[in-house]
Amino acid sequence: MSASCKKYEKLLSLYLDARLDTSGRAEVDRHLATCEACRATIALLSGAAAALAAEGPAEPPPGLAARAARGALAAGSREARPSFIERWIRVAWPTAAAASVATALLLFFGLSAGNGNGQAGTSGDPVALIAQQSEPETDELVRSVLAMEEE
């Protein structure tokens, strides 16, 4: 196959199926007139196409459609398309549940910690409780750093 044949390789397939416009077909015809290798390829592929086409299109076995439809309807519990509310609940419900659990845990641990320290007045605010809990440690750290600087 020559270098110019490469250019026509894909066109030959379209040529066989008559999918080239007039100028494209004329161009391939001109090439075929001078190229024995491409003529041989076209002859081979035409022969094969004719042999395959002689079989005719495959037809489904008689009754296949009816059997397939009956089988599907009998076997399949159909997935109904969820309504907007159903889809919203599917997404919103787990999110709301997770948020509730997180809040409950935060409140529970916050209250426990607050009661343990004997501190009143912040039991309703877990964030304040956590802040209070960490303050002595922070103060101690600041004091030790300042002491080191003085040394």
Binding site: E9, K10, L12, S13, L14, L16, D17, R19, A40, T41, L44, L45, G47, A48, A49, A51, L52, A53, A54, E55, G56, P57, A58, E59, P60, P61, L64, A65, A66, R67, A68, A69, R70, G71, A72, L73, A75, G76, S77, R78, E79, A80, R81
Partner: protein
């Protein structure tokens, strides 16, 4: 390509089937079985397997029809399920595509294809043998190219119909067909050379 009337008829059947109408689904199956069967057969190769594949595909289609968003794309969607089930079947079977090509049979194939000296009384049998041999050569072509080639050459489907069935652009049909034919031409050239060697 199908007419607009047929397309809108399929769309309507699909919409009704999506609402759970069993009669519409049955009609939809009737309308699409031929192309579904061809795609299955060209992928798995055996008629009995293709039949099983089609039945399994419609079970899946009925179950998940509600997920199809574009009712106008129902043919490609069903054929997509068919392809999926077919490829599963091929993987399960781990079947080799073809038996190895025997060089001694090359001459028979070439004679059948190119009008060699085949005795008349045996012509029908020879033709069947030629077809089997040709299929064995086609069977050696990579699956995605082979399916397009067979849908085109044997089933006579247009590029647009193949594109729709396989959910690929027409340009991809062109290039796959070109590759399939290039491979087939090389194999046929080997056959011819073998024939020449035998004759010499």
């Amino acid at each position: 390509m199908r007419s607009d009337d047929v397309d809108s008829h399929l769309e309507e059947l699909t919409s009704r089937a999506q609402q759970g109408d069993p009669q519409a689904f049955t009609a939809l199956v009737e309308e699409t079985t031929a192309v579904a069967y061809r795609v299955a057969l060209r992928t798995v190769g055996e008629p009995a397997d293709a039949e099983d594949v089609v039945q399994e595909a419609y079970i899946r289609a009925w179950r998940s029809l509600s997920r199809l968003r574009d009712s106008g794309a129902v043919v490609g969607w069903i054929c997509g399920i068919v392809r999926h089930v077919s490829l599963d079947r091929l993987r399960q079977r781990k079947r080799r595509r073809t038996e190895p090509f025997e060089e001694t049979r090359a001459g028979e194939l070439a004679e059948g294809l190119f009008g060699g000296p085949v005795p008349d009384p045996a012509r029908a049998a020879e033709a069947a043998q030629t077809s089997a041999l040709l299929h064995s050569l086609v069977g050696e072509i990579k699956e995605k190219y082979r399916v397009v080639l067979l849908l085109r050459e044997v089933d006579g489907m247009t590029y647009e119909e193949i594109a729709e069935a396989l959910s690929i652009p027409v340009g991809t049909v062109e290039s796959r067909l070109h590759r399939a034919r290039r491979q087939l031409a090389k194999k046929l050239q080997l056959v011819l050379r073998a024939q020449e060697k035998e004759a010499a």
